[in-house]
Every structure is written in structure tokens, then in C-alpha cells.
Amino acid sequence: MPELPELNPVIHGKLRLALLSLLSTVEEAEFTWLRTRTGSTDGNLGAQLAKLEEAGYVTLEKRFVQRKPQTLYRMTETGRAALAEYVRALKTLLGEAMESGA
């Protein structure tokens, strides 16, 4: 029997998974847009994004638009590959669980 894949713990967190899924659909996203889409608080969102950045899954860029500061987040190729791998592992686990009748 093949060994079951393990789920990446960095991505498995609910908010981090939501963030990576959102970022996979756009070129870049502003902090406030991510906050609105996820319904998260500033503190929690900042902390989770920092974890994703630490893992090399997202990059950030700070800039000023109309004299207002903006923080933009982009998903890296590593992040994209990690999310794809996570989805593959998740599907394998779900398929396995269904086969074993859980």
C-alpha cells in the first residue's frame, strides 16, 4: 500500500490556505483587499502573511499611491507549487478516506 501524503502544515492553517487560494487567482493583492475577502482582523492577517512570507510562499512590496501607503502581496512560484502539492495531497487523502469507507 502506498504511503499517504502529509499535508504541508504551513498551508494547512485555515487563513493561510484561504490567502494562498486568493493570491493564486490574481497578480497581486493589497492588504485591505485580502482582509475584506477573508473577513480577518488586521493582526491575524498580518501574522499569517508573515508566516507565508517566511516560508517563501509570498512576497510583499510597500508603495505609496496618492500619498497613502499600500502593501501588496504576490504569490511566488514556490508558493504556487506548494499549493498545488497541498491540493494533490488533500485529494489523495480524501480519496483514500472514501475508499476505506470513513
Binding site: E27, S40, V65
Partner: protein, 206 residues
């Protein structure tokens, strides 16, 4: 954790990915107002140019009507565009559509003043060029966004550009105003209503 709880959690994660991807793809760009603004700008330019003429004609006698209206419309588009776009993420498709319209806008800003100052611009050439450029932009944008109604606008503009070569000045003015009304004003209002409906759907929560 028992197996059913674990499976429930895994399913929840998969649903979360799907809902967030759907959320991210939801169009938040709002560009319907630009159609309305430019439609209104063309109407203002034509009526201003014809003011005091007694009849409606594309150029009229007021030489400043077109340049002033077009410059004001371009400035308003830039200012409102920057303000509304701030904080909204772009998809590759959205960026492609915006780039296309910017390129068409720049082409118009360059070619029409050049033709006008060289004395080579007449009503027929003006409408034929406007029709071709707006037909191309609407057509390409409609194909990218898979938007049939916008493709209908492209067909109207292409038809106007061909008609411009064969009809009289008076007929052309009426046709141009009709195309502006349909493809800029009516389409603009429709696009804005559609965008407002999408915004009302609200945010998902992780």
C-alpha cells in the same frame, strides 16, 4: 481525532480553496462608467460644436469644442480611474483588457489632432477611424472576457465605420449619434448595473 472528523476537516479545506478561488476571480473592476463618460463627452462635443449652427453637424463652427471636451474627458478618466482602481487587484485578463483600451486611447489622442492640424481630417474619415478603433477594442475585449453584449457593440462600431465611407454627412451624424447612444450610454449603464449587482454579493469569510 476520529476518521470522520478528519475527513470532515479535509473536505472543509477543499471547500475553502474552491470558495476562495471563486472569490478571487469575482470581478471587482468597475469600468462601466468610462463608457458612459466617453459617450457623454462625444455628445457634448458634437452639440457644443453645432451650437448656433441651426443644424446638427459633427464639426460645426466651434473649433475648441472637440479638443476641450476630449482633454477634459481624458483627464477625468485618468483621475477617476486611479481613484477607483486603488486597492483592487488585477487579474492577467483584466490587465490585458485595460492595456488594450489604454493603447486605443493613446492612438486616438495621437492620430486625431495630427489629422486635424494637417487639414486631412473630415467627418467621414473621423467616424471611420473611431468606428474601427472602438470596434477593435470592444471586439478584442469581448472575446477576452467572453462578453456577447460587448461583441454586439463591436459589430455596431464596425458597421458604422464601413457606412462612413458611403453615406452623406447628415446621415453619418445621425448614425454616429445612434451608435454612441447604444454602445456608450446604454452599454455603459448596463455594465455599471452588472458591476453593482456583483459587488452586492458580498465577501466570503475564511
Amino acid at each position: 481525532m476520529d476518521k470522520s472528523t478528519e475527513m470532515h476537516e479535509l473536505r472543509e479545506r477543499l471547500e475553502l480553496i474552491e470558495s476562495m478561488i471563486q472569490e478571487g476571480r469575482r470581478k471587482t473592476e468597475s469600468w462601466g462608467w468610462t463608457f458612459l463618460l466617453w459617450g457623454a463627452a462625444y455628445f457634448v462635443a458634437i452639440f457644443w460644436a453645432s451650437w448656433g449652427n441651426g443644424s446638427l453637424s459633427m464639426w460645426g463652427h466651434n473649433a475648441v469644442a472637440w479638443p476641450v471636451t476630449m482633454i477634459v474627458a481624458a483627464a477625468l478618466t485618468t483621475l477617476i480611474g486611479i481613484r477607483m482602481d486603488s486597492g483592487h487587484p488585477h487579474t492577467t485578463l483584466g490587465r490585458a483588457a485595460i492595456s488594450l483600451w489604454i493603447a486605443v486611447g493613446v492612438s486616438m489622442i495621437l492620430i486625431f489632432p495630427a489629422l486635424a492640424t494637417s487639414g486631412r481630417l473630415d467627418v467621414h474619415l473621423f467616424v471611420a477611424l473611431v468606428g474601427t478603433m472602438l470596434g477593435t477594442a470592444n471586439g478584442a475585449s469581448a472575446l477576452m472576457l467572453k462578453w456577447k453584449i460587448q461583441f454586439g457593440c463591436a459589430v455596431v462600431w464596425w458597421a458604422i465605420s464601413v457606412a462612413a465611407c458611403f453615406v452623406s454627412d447628415a446621415q453619418l451624424t445621425v448614425l454616429f449619434l445612434l451608435a454612441l447612444f447604444l454602445c456608450q450610454i446604454v452599454f455603459g449603464v448596463y455594465a455599471m448595473t452588472r458591476e453593482a449587482r456583483r459587488r452586492k454579493l458580498g465577501a466570503a469569510h475564511a
